[in-house]
């Protein structure tokens, strides 16, 4: 019996030490939030799934650098964001433009009248508005407003000063305010929750 207990014990230790099973366990626990973040960044399910897949592979290759005891989800999201930024850079057409250059016409369909907006699902218009933001502005909104990051945590992930997060967040929200004007007014009237 003792021998059996020992064998079980060492098997359990072996499983805990094996980076593959440890990584698989962490992926299983956090893949949904990785997908949610990727979807917010890319705006569509196909690119989101690809991005999650690519970042999971990169995360696994770099897994030995992951500090045990720190938050795996934050670590993975950072890798995911970096992969996303690399993709954006590869697509020169979308990489460099100022927030001010964006025309509200990018948001075709987001300008419905408030009557239509009432009771309607917001996912479409809001996601389209988010998509129209430059990536680094969108990331600030997604991290702080949707993922519940503090400004400091977002700054760490985005590798920029906290003041930059604050200003990007504000400018992004000001743009969303104009683009989603009818919805904003509906919220203020208490017609949308």
């Amino acid at each position: 019996m003792e021998l059996e207990a020992d064998a079980l014990g060492s098997a359990a230790c072996g499983a805990a030490d094996d980076p593959r099973s440890e990584f698989a366990r962490l992926v299983e626990a956090h893949w949904r939030s990785a997908y949610r973040f990727a979807y917010r960044l890319t705006g569509n399910p196909e690119d989101a799934a690809d991005l999650v897949q690519q970042s999971a592979e990169e995360a696994f290759r770099a897994f030995y650098r992951f500090r045990r005891g720190s938050r795996f989800d934050r670590w993975w999201l950072r890798i995911l964001y970096n992969s996303f930024v690399d993709r954006i850079r590869q697509d020169r057409r979308r990489s460099y433009f100022a927030l001010e250059d964006l025309a509200p016409s990018l948001l075709a369909g987001a300008d419905s009248d408030p009557e239509v907006a009432v009771g309607q699902r917001l996912d479409g218009p809001v996601q389209r508005a988010l998509d129209a933001l430059p990536a680094e502005y969108r990331a600030a909104v997604v991290l702080v407003d949707l993922e519940g990051f503090s400004y400091q945590e977002a700054a760490q992930l985005l590798r920029c000063p906290v003041g930059t997060v604050r200003s990007r967040l504000h400018r992004a929200r000001m743009a969303l305010r104009e683009w989603l004007r009818d919805y904003v007014d509906a919220v203020k009237r208490g017609e949308l929750r």
Partner: protein, 144 residues
């Protein structure tokens, strides 16, 4: 009157220091435009938070786990130490051999002359240039 601009979003999020928050609050008491902006910013945040994301495709998780099964981890284990040891050995061997290796590099003057020549020759002509370089260098040296 200076408007607090991006401090308004930080105010809405409650991330300002007590002093800054008090300044913004004092400004809001006097500025209807900024009060309106603050209300709008709250509504925007609410809209963004309310928009949901569709469920991930169910086949994604098995795909992720499969890729973990096939990807190669780069473990920090014994590999770097073997590499370091190999590096030291190689360095030791090279150091020991240095006095016996004959100098194969061309004289510095020759390299400089070639550099001056190359700087004047367009890239497309470099192929030819490398053939005639010796003659030209000699001319240049003679003309100096």
């Amino acid at each position: 009157m200076t408007h607090p601009s991006d401090r308004l979003s930080a105010y809405v999020d409650g991330t300002l220091s007590k002093g800054e928050a008090a300044e913004v609050a004092a400004h809001l008491a006097e500025c209807a435009a900024c009060r309106e902006t603050v209300t709008d910013l709250r509504a925007v945040r609410q809209l963004v938070r309310a928009a949901t994301v569709p469920d991930p495709p169910p086949e994604l998780l098995p795909r992720l786990l499969r890729s973990v099964g096939t990807a190669t981890p780069r473990p920090p284990g014994p590999v770097p130490w073997t590499l370091i040891a190999a590096g030291f050995t190689l360095a030791a061997v090279l150091l020991a051999r240095v006095p016996f290796v004959p100098a194969a590099a061309p004289p510095l003057d020759e390299l400089r002359a070639y550099g001056r020549l190359a700087a004047r020759v367009p890239l497309v002509e470099l192929g030819t240039a490398s053939f005639v370089s010796t003659a030209q260098v000699e001319e240049e040296e003679a003309g100096r």
